[in-house]
Symmetry: C2
Subunit: 228 residues, 2 copies
């Protein structure tokens, strides 16, 4: 401590926090808005907790903090929607297929984006990671762009209980036993190579491997579907 | 998919999940118990969400899943207590000093354990990590045992909003801007070496460095205190 005296002023911000020095006001506004939207399904207290915990969970790992408010809004909304569906307060319009990998930066993003594109509205396909990375793997975004699938709006998210509760099918890839198991849900494990650190051609091969699995899954879950 | 056909039975568990195949019943019981304990402070809905999300957050990273129920109970209780204090539903008996590092396996565990021991009940000292490790660093536990501080019951926990809300002082070590900043709290950053992968003598030196900082902090926060 001798070389780094304590600052005199309480409330002094830590170094390297230029963006959201005071997220509180913004998060309270967001919580009020969502509490109105989810009135009937959840108390204002629950919604506020979801907003603040979603913010902190993303702030822990996200690299670009500029987008944190909009990512928080989306993450909290997705989680509250999932929970409302799980408890029957909101009807589920289509089956939910949840993909989980370690970083939610490669495999689960690839699988969710491909299945979402091919299902064309007939499935809802969230994804999550047991230890979310700072950002989506740029090579993964590139090999998806090659097949005209856009990953620009996606971001790594931690696995939360609500999305598991809402899922009809949970597909894990390389994340061990990180996911809780609930009755009435179907759990699959796909043995797919992690694209992290792989050369571009290998990432392409992983995309093709996942695309084949996704086609088979889609044909089974939505039997009338013809693969895109 | 050709080499790995989909199983016929829905609800089939994933491989490698021998321990808690059905955590739901246990978590509901835990939630009922805690809802009773926190009645007046929180709705049963909020308490249930805390229990289930605490379980999933620990299951994502914990290596030894055998202890997950008891760790979940402790983690959820600590979080609900922190939140109740932050909103004034429970009185805070002593100031809260929160230590945050990346893995909650080394630096923040060392600092929290040393300050807890030296403060002898005059401070409450939680810790958390932005990306919690599977387990506490065994060398860190060993260098603390050398100074008669026991780390056996500690476990890496993700940083959550509630403990930040409850904190009077937040001390970050190597975790960048992972921690939300709230008004009225004091934020410090300690530039301490990460013990991960260091030789044992270096871990000892890190313990001594942290112990010196902890002494200075304690003398400032609890002026009447004589260092242990």
């Amino acid at each position: 401590m001798t070389d780094k005296p304590l600052p005199d002023q309480p409330g002094e911000g830590p170094p390297g926090m230029p963006g959201l020095l005071a997220p509180e006001t913004l998060l309270h506004r967001m919580a009020d808005h969502l509490a109105h939207r989810f009135a009937g399904a959840f108390s204002a207290e629950t919604v506020e907790r979801y907003v603040f915990e979603s913010y902190t969970a993303l702030a822990r790992t996200a690299r670009v903090t500029t987008f944190l408010p909009s990512l928080t809004q989306r993450f909290a909304t997705e989680r509250l929607t999932a929970l409302a569906q799980a408890k029957g307060a909101i009807a589920k319009s289509v089956p939910e297929v949840l993909f989980v990998c370690v970083h939610n930066a490669g495999r689960s993003q690839l699988a969710a984006a491909l299945l979402h594109a091919k299902a064309a509205g007939r499935l809802h396909v969230p994804s999550a990671g047991s230890m979310p990375a700072e950002q989506v793997n740029p090579d993964v975004a590139a090999v998806l762009a090659e097949v005209a699938v856009d990953l620009a709006d996606e971001f790594p998210k931690p696995l939360t209980d609500d999305v598991v509760q809402a899922a009809d099918v949970v597909i894990t890839m390389g994340c061990g036993d990180a996911c809780p198991v609930y009755p009435g849900e179907r759990y699959l494990n796909w043995d797919v190579t992690d694209p992290d650190g792989q050369p571009f051609d290998a990432v392409r091969a992983i995309r093709n491997d996942i695309a084949e699995r996704v086609d088979a899954l889609l044909a089974e879950l939505v039997p009338a579907a013809s693969p895109a």
